[in-house]
Symmetry: none
DNA sequence: TATGAATGAGTCTTCATTCAT
DNA sequence: CATGAATGAAGACTCATTCAT
């Protein structure tokens, strides 16, 4: 059972990360200053340092938290889907939905994260795992004749690329389609390539 | 005709942008400091301010220069291609090749540019024009029965997304395929969606 | 008679001073932080403020406590010694022995104390009293013909200076002589000056 | 020949060290803040960092400069003196005079320097060299029968201790004796120990 | 009484920008 | 035009002190 102390700590850390997400999404890592985060969290600047060792650590913790959540959600949904087409759809939807609910998350994850040397490698790794998971599913489907033989990993990465692009556009401009339409379009695009008879 | 004065100015600005590209690609906007750029350009720090009003302006000018070049090149190659499939290939190759030749360009354009609030909108606009150009070509091909009817703009954006993804992966990891193989894979993927009989 | 309350207070103050002595000796006043002292004392930081008004007050109280103890010990030993030569020896030994037993004491007293503006004057005063006590003994001995007439106060200060120097060197480097040899050397040095026939 | 650039640099560094000496002498290392030094030097805070990498470096450079000067002066004067008694006198006078002329020097050198972990060892070394030089002179005099056999190094350190004590007292209280009287007293004290017939 | 989380003033350090030469 | 020394505003981080529990 958690001690009261652990609960409070967890609560504060969460509050700080929530504040940091807003600030970093808006201003980026360099321009998002500790005063902003403190103000957003309703805390004094010094308090941030009781829960995180440095600005970088806040950023890393935020990245870690959100990427792990996305990764876990994606893997779960892929596994739960009944067939490859649905697995692809779930992979895409996991991303689209999360970006919808948590716009700041994607602004940071996609836009900023890759730009900071101290997170680049980690970031790639977080992307890789769900992608490889999807690739494995493609391979299995291919070996069962469900789809034709394809370079599965490349297709999986392409899936991630397409989802990313769709999200970025939805974040910037007006949204004219529903999430499931958006996902449907991408799934069809990919499925055409998987099922085409050469 | 250009005065000597204009020639010198142009020469200096070019040198500064070249230096800035290297520095920003390596360190990002925030960590790439004016001293770095000056040193890289072989000029004194103060001299930078004779040719650009501020650090931000250097960055904007760099973005402008490189994005315009990419845009113009892409448009030209699309127009020169004989049919839609080749137009798509040229669109992708224009990006892949430029990223190959000028890795720094892409590291900045893609990774950093989007993260800086003062360039976000502009950046989207530079991407848009070639994409819409490609979309128009798709529409023409569709109306001539060359491909089936599709949401051309979405396909065009998808093309850009796929190209971007391929580039990013080539920048990070080891390169196992040639540029034309890479482009070929993407073209086939897209072509399947354009030509498939439902 | 002391109330239980007073006993507890006295106990806590002592514990805090003992902790502070270790911390300040190791890190100095500026770098020895309240957290260190609290941890060393096994108390919470806030508790320190129940017994002392501020960090400076802890330092002052520590200085007061240890210097008073040294002073009292020195005076007692001088008075107990049978003749001037032994009084000088006791003056020196009181210092050497205390530094031996309580290295931290001397590191603070000598090294740091003098550097803090808020203790400078006080510090000199604590040194002065035993020195003047010794000087008086010298004068008495001189007026009884035990030693020749000398500027007694200067000799007494010189005694303190020599003892201090010996201690500092023993704190830093390897110790090659016993305490009584060390004291003996200094006593002989001083005695030569007191007994010499011009 | 020095370039103009070197002259300016040297001039600035000197000005900063002079300012730092005053500030550190007054307030110590921890409380002497960079703003103080900048103000005292008539420079902006940032300028200090053009000439020194950090606050610590300023402190180290100051210590180095002043200690080297004292050391060199002491060695020169010892060598120039015709006999041991005068060498001892010069050793003491070198210190007394310097403290007289540059009171801040001694407040820092003696009081603060030893308290900072990052200078402790160096500081001992600066003291050691002149002391050992004097010790060697004592040995030579002893082997020529000029004085009796004594533990020369201990006597030399005692000389340094006595000089230090005298200086400290002159810095604090009113000065009732001339420098040469002060030195004369100490020389006689030491000489008695060196010449006494046991 | 004891606690330790919270505070925010204070410090070092960096770096875009200016300007006298 | 070119320079680079000087500036000072801004930001990360520390820690003595307070106060609600």
């Amino acid at each position: 059972m958690k001690t009261k102390q652990q609960v409070v700590t967890e609560f504060r850390r969460r509050a700080i990360l929530d504040a940091a997400r807003k600030v970093f999404a808006h201003k980026g890592f360099a321009d998002g200053i500790m005063d902003d985060i403190a103000a957003e969290a309703g805390l004094a600047k010094g308090t941030l340092y009781l829960y995180f060792g440095s600005k970088k650590e806040i950023y890393k913790a935020l990245l870690h938290h959100d990427m792990e959540a996305l990764k876990a959600d994606t893997l779960r949904r892929i596994d739960a889907a009944p067939n490859l087409k649905e697995k692809i759809r779930e992979f895409i939807l996991a991303r689209l939905e999360r970006a919808e609910v948590n716009r700041e998350f994607f602004r940071i994850m996609d836009t900023h994260a890759a730009g900071l040397s101290f997170t680049r490698t980690q970031y790639r790794d977080w992307l890789r795992e769900p992608v490889l998971h999807l690739a494995a599913a493609i391979d299995r489907a291919a070996s069962q004749g469900e789809v034709r033989r394809v370079p599965s990993e490349k297709i999986a990465w392409a899936t991630a690329d397409l989802a990313r692009g769709a999200i970025v556009r939805r974040l910037v401009g007006p949204t004219e389609t529903t999430l499931s339409e958006e996902a449907g379009f991408l799934v069809d695009l990919l499925w055409a390539a998987l099922s085409v008879k050469p």
